[in-house]
Amino acid sequence: MTAKQGRNIAFSALVLIAAAIWIFPLYWALTTSLRSENRIVSDAGVWIDELNFSAYIEVLSTSKLPIWYLNSVGTSLIITVIVLITGMMCAYALSQLRFPGRRLLYLVVVASFMVPVPALYVAQFVLMSDLGLVNSWWGIILPQLIVPVVVIVYKQFFDAIPKEMREAVLLDGGGEFTLLFKLYLPLNWGITAALAIITFISAWNNFFWPFLVVTSESMMTIPVGITQVNDSFGVFYARMMALALLAAAPVIIGYLIFQKRVTEAVMISAGVKG
């Protein structure tokens, strides 16, 4: 082994240790959740030395976690589907068609980046109240449908598709919708998946808006629900950590499966090509 190889291994080990420290909070949550409540407050060994699932069973049987899952999955999926379809259609028109107001529309979409969305929550809450949608799925969903980045990213990708392909379809008598769904969309499945992931994650993780618009426990999404029950658990730290991990499990598992796509999605959404 040369000195250089040795240095490389030492460096890798160092980085790995740093990464392990970085992820320690999650590991510690796991350790805590697998212990009995009494042990947690008495002695604190760092290693997982107990596999006590009672906290998980307790949480699953006493909290409304299953219903919150349902609410989170339902609202996030609907948001993702609507955002992608409307965004894609709008981007297609902006990219390929000439119509009055095109530049203005694009400008407004780009400028909307600068508006901090939470600043609109007061008005959006009033609007939802006028529509009678407070404490409903649609109340959670509607204000979250504004994701201008989807339009901008789609437009960039549509712009890059050669004009010749478009002419060919038009000559065959296809209309704009055929073009979009038979040509532009299939060519951009990758970007669609990426945008879907990023939209889904941000909807799933949104706390502030659902927190405002939801009032009853059975309408809460996961991020809101788990903060409401932590008081009713009192000093039961194992249960709180079990709850936190159960709440995080879908995104963690999803990320581990679609890792490459997620990474790609994050880069694309920031306008950086990986």
């Binding site: 699953l60 049987s61 299953p66 109240s129 407070v134 409401q228 009713s232």
Partner: protein, 425 residues
Amino acid sequence: MKHTLSKLAATTALITGLCSPAWAQVEVEWWDFLAGGDGVRMKALISQFNEEHPDIQIEGTTLEWGLPFYTKVRTSVAVGAGPDIMTYHLSRLPLALEEDVLSPISDADLETAGLSKDDFFEASITAASTDDGQLMAIPFDIHAVVVHYNRTALEGTEWLDDDGNLTNINSIEDMTNLLTWAKEQGFSDPLSFQSEGGGGTWRMFYTLLSQQGGEILTDGEVLAGDNMDKAVTAIQTLADWRAAGLIPEQAAYEASVALFSGRKSVLHINGVWEVPTFKDQTEDGSLGFEWFANEVPQMMDQPATWADSHAFAIPNDPEMTQEKRDAVLAVIGWMQEHSLAWAGAGHIPAYKPTVESAEYAELQPNATYVSLADNAAFDPRSKIAGVASPIYDAVDNLIAPAVHGFLSAEDAAAQMKDQLQGLLD
């Protein structure tokens, strides 16, 4: 394991139950803020009610106590998305009237619930009514703070009498001596309570203020005359204890309870609602010492203990159907009749038939602190007072900092007077 499995099965049944269509059944949306031991008891009451009433189903939601709860109530009632019934603190009634969130309770309503005003203590009815006597909520209990104490640790000392009750604590000095002794015995935080601010700090402060005969509000003036000095004394007492390490630093509510059950504190001043927590731990043997609760001893000029009441209220909703209202009233009536179970959560029921029953007379430790009902110091009846009121802001931003030495007791009291007076004028 069998127990947990049946729980899982129950959850599954609940979920599938939610998906199947409900038959002719009134669903009552219920909100409360009851956590910990009394939360468990209330949930048991709710499920018992649901079992006994196939035609009415209570759908319970427990929200975070205090400001988060009352914020949700206010906004959701304003947009017509509130619950059908909720628990409410009577200390907050003036604020509720100001916010216009409660629906008045008529005599006919009481009749539907199978109740009458005579079933309740007069003081409770007054507290639940507007100034001109309109009932706005139906009282459920009176609850106060008590001293939870570690009897095992105090065994054989001068502070325990032959019956095992606290004795010989007649002044602040006596209390300080006890706490100093406990500190020497290895109790790191001898007297625990929620010292970070919030309800716990307010209850301590108000108890000490009231034991001096002090009042927050007299004739629309905040901390008038020598009430100011009494407030300073109350804050200074707590600050001295903190400086000597006799009370915990910035203890959150849960932590203050854990300090006591974890044998780091010998005394724990907290609500009667923690009685079931310690009772349950005693029964399953996880506490590890003998626990009991007494009235807060008289350490100053007169006996006094902070107290408040839980009540049931119906939110203002013009669209509520008569059928639903009747169902809600049936729930309230049933709860009153079963308030002995609630007394098991440490509270003193507001419903006289329960309090006068033989079973109640035998209930421990409630029986040892019945006297506190006479010495109860309720929050001033004003829109600046009550749970999650401006007074609570002052507690968080002025009293708690003063207790921790970030501010002098005099400055804290003076600023408190200014702030609260500003809201009244």
